[in-house]
Amino acid sequence: MKRIIGLILGLCIALSLTLFAGENPLNVFMILMRSAFGSMYDLGLTLSYTTPLIFCGLSVAVGFHAGLFNIGAEGQLTIAVVTAAAVGILFPNIPFPLAPMVAFAAALLAGGLWGWIAGWLRAYRGSHEVIITIMLNFIAAGLASWFTLQIIPNPNSQSPETAVVSPNYMFKDYDLIARRFPDTPANASLVFAIVFAIVMWIFLWKTPWGFALRAVGSNPEAAHRAGISGKRVQMLAMTIAGAMAGCVALSEVLGSTGQYRIGFSPDYGFIGIAVALLANNNPLGIIAAAFLMGALHKGASDLDLETATITRNFSQIIQALIILGVTAQGYWAWISKNKRRKN
């Protein structure tokens, strides 16, 4: 409940900022709503943002449960999406049901590897995962751009993007969600995302590995006494986190565009932090939180057109203030303390 109040508080402060830009906050809010849910097309776009946000939210949440702050989801998903695209382009002759599976497995591996690096450095070298994952984000972006532009560029386009994978990699013809939302990138990967969220919930609360992971996160000392290896758990958590972020390949490459486009992600990895926090790292809550943040993001993307002075970057302000509103639950205690002081 307090989280919801924090969320509303953050949103209100963000909206009231628009007064400085000479806009009416209520009007801006209406634009956000209309542009997120106004039509089947808008809803389709909102859902297409929701899917990667569920994956990234899960990625960040797994880290949090093990006491690690994974801000590397952006780099992990970049590496994974490029890998999936590379597999699709370099091996065009794999038949349909096998092809997307191979590409997906490659993406999971690549994302997992990228997360594992940070986990290993954290566990065995004590390097802070926040700095390492930020650096890995930059490195991933560099490697991805090299691979995209030099090795598998799109021959038919001047845009910085890879070639398109062969059609047997995509599940377009079998995609019921894509049919429902024509002309939008919404696709069946949303179902995968929801299933993964449920699996993640079962993993965290119903399996011994999930227990070990949460134990290390909440009380490393006790976990150590109980014979749980903190180091192995940290590596495991970061690897799973990387693989989860890597699932974005599913919605981006296999589900909709069939290629990696440089800059396709509006920082999904970072919005994922807000998603995880909003949901208190509960995998099932993440589905709802991702939908909300997806809606806000889609809503903000139309601010460019609909208002004179507010740009799409406004969604970053909203996200930041929501994170602050949700994280700083201390204001309840602080307000009551100050009241007492006055009395």
């Binding site: 004590g126 390097s127 926040v130 507010i310 970057n313 302000i317």
Partner: protein, 289 residues
């Protein structure tokens, strides 16, 4: 002769590029030594770079921009201090949120001021700094080293981060020491940012810090949370950056090294340094508590 020229130009480039890192690293030093984790350096730097560029451009004066960065840094630092010290919010999450907030606010403000989505107009070349920030960075490191170990208030900072109880016992408010330290941390980091926009370049461009706030933090950790070693680490990272710029477009035989490989060099160096392959480092005891 040509080789000597190359060495000198590399060294000079290193010193220039190290300036923003040094300031930010000293900012991180203030905050972390007082016991407050600071991953918001990147945001502080961006805020400083932006405020400096806007004011510097408006008044055609780099020094006024420098002053504006001071105020912006102080405000950002106090904002962060309020959340972490008063509200006891998670320091790392708050820090990332501050970064995100600054990244969103800057285009919001440029749109109002210049109706552009990010960059500010450039200063005249003769208005911007020539070498002053470089010098000030060195002075800051020297002053901090002296202050930390030789003065009473320097010890307050150390104790706030190592044994807050001892500080309380001697009648000094940990809260106040941390407030001051974190606010100053904002100022130093903002100066680091503005030495990017008024010294290395002559305007603000979106995301111009490029992870330098985190590199500065890595330098601090690599330097075992002490000013002088952190300063040397900054020089190392800046050297990697200088080499990176130098290597772009260079050929080995007929083979041109892909520019992306060269660009990621500073980040790789940071990871290697941080992975502690050269000695372990120990954080202040009460860091993050």
């Amino acid at each position: 002769m040509e080789f000597m020229l190359l060495v000198f130009s590399l060294l000079f480039a290193t010193l220039r590029l190290a300036t923003p890192l040094i300031f930010a690293s000293m900012g991180g030093f203030m905050s972390e030594r007082s016991g407050v984790v600071n991953v918001a350096l990147e945001g502080f730097m961006l805020a400083g770079a932006f405020a400096g560029a806007v004011v510097g451009y408006s008044f055609d004066s780099a020094w006024l921009g420098w002053g504006a960065a001071l105020i912006a840094g102080l405000a950002m630092g106090a904002f962060y201090a309020f959340f972490t010290i008063e509200l006891k919010a998670d320091q790392i999450i708050t820090g990332m949120a501050v970064n995100l907030l600054v990244m969103g606010l800057i285009p919001f403000i440029t749109k109002i001021l210049y109706s552009s989505t990010g960059s500010t107009p450039a200063l005249l070349l003769e208005d911007r700094f020539r070498f002053e920030p470089m010098l000030m960075a060195f002075i800051l490191v020297t002053a901090l080293t002296y202050w930390l170990y030789k003065t009473r208030s320097g010890l307050w900072l150390l104790f706030a981060g190592e044994h807050p109880e001892a500080l309380v016992a001697s009648g000094v408010s940990v809260r106040k020491v941390r407030w001051a330290a974190v606010s100053l941390s904002g100022v130093f980091a903002a100066w680091g940012g503005t030495s990017l926009s008024l010294f290395l370049a002559s305007s603000y461009s979106p995301m111009m810090t490029g992870g330098r706030g985190f590199m500065a933090l890595a330098a601090l950790i690599f330097g075992k949370w002490r000013p002088l070693p952190a300063f040397l680490a900054c020089l190392l990272f800046a050297f990697a950056d200088a080499v990176q710029i130098r290597l772009q477009g260079m050929h080995i035989g007929n083979f041109e090294i892909p520019v992306q490989f060269i660009q990621i060099l500073p980040y790789v160096v940071t990871i290697i340094a941080l992975a502690g392959f050269i000695g372990k480092s120990r954080a202040p005891k009460a860091l993050g508590k």
